[in-house]
Symmetry: C2
Subunit: 154 residues, 2 copies
Amino acid sequence: MLPNPTASAEVASGASPWDQVADRLRAGGLRWTPQRRTLIEVLREHEGHVTASALIARCKERDRTTTPSTVYRTLDLLEELGLVRHGHGHDGREEYHILPDQVHGHLYCGGCGKTWEIRPETGAVIVEALASQLGFAVDLSHVTISGRCAGCHD
Amino acid sequence: MLPNPTASAEVASGASPWDQVADRLRAGGLRWTPQRRTLIEVLREHEGHVTASALIARCKERDRTTTPSTVYRTLDLLEELGLVRHGHGHDGREEYHILPDQVHGHLYCGGCGKTWEIRPETGAVIVEALASQLGFAVDLSHVTISGRCAGCHD
DNA sequence: TTTGCTATTGCAACATGTTGCGGGCTCTGC
DNA sequence: GCAGAGCCCGCAACATGTTGCAATAGCAAA
């Protein structure tokens, strides 16, 4: 593990955004609790997307007393801090994008059940189409678009 | 409104696709029950989109003994018959499109909370982008895309 | 260290869907 | 119009989220 400099100004290269969570919370008059620590630890172990229920399960492994409402509330907080983003899978269930580096959408194939990310170039076409035709600023990351992939056409 | 070209055979003028439901069910060895009749009656009164819970509530008004599981199961059946299509609203809750004349997507504005339909021309751009770049056949009707409308930009 | 403010937790209840099961009802064949 | 076959219903239990409330516990000031 890296040493933890906890710089208040800019982050030294190599530091993880998670290291600052405690301070960022306290700076806002919020609190650093064992339950929040547990969730952060779990999130550090993941990348990409995780369902809410998977996160709850992992938290329970570390702390048997974990309750779902606390996890959901903490995730809301982390979303406000920009550390996660929530979206909905093809079936409407919640999914969390961890440390979203860039906004990207998702495709779900009803044939094979796989999920793909929409590459920025492709996403840009969609965003642009809705922006120019309707003046609508799309947040592609919120939903999973369904359909059939190239390998599953009829 | 356009006439509805859904069925392969022609529909006599004035006839509603709902009139054929009973026969179409029986033709498949399925049954025409009071619970199904109630739901059909409710669906006839609606157009466009309805949430599942709204349908359940309306069914309960007509028949106090309505149970949710029956409604959901019947809606699944009707979806197989092509009379409704389900999708997910911006919050992941189920929504049903009644008598979908053409596939269309939906936009939800997180600012004002309104929902718009994506016009076929606009939808075509999106479908085309994903088809040509990824070979992915999008079903736009399944999800509600979130964002901010022209009136709600910052 | 102690004290006090109040953010946070865990519980309980609720909302929305899903699923397995036993008994009842629809339909068909006679 | 009766009886048999099996589709369907309602129930109960569960899965996933959300919300209100009283009690707890973080944090900072004294």
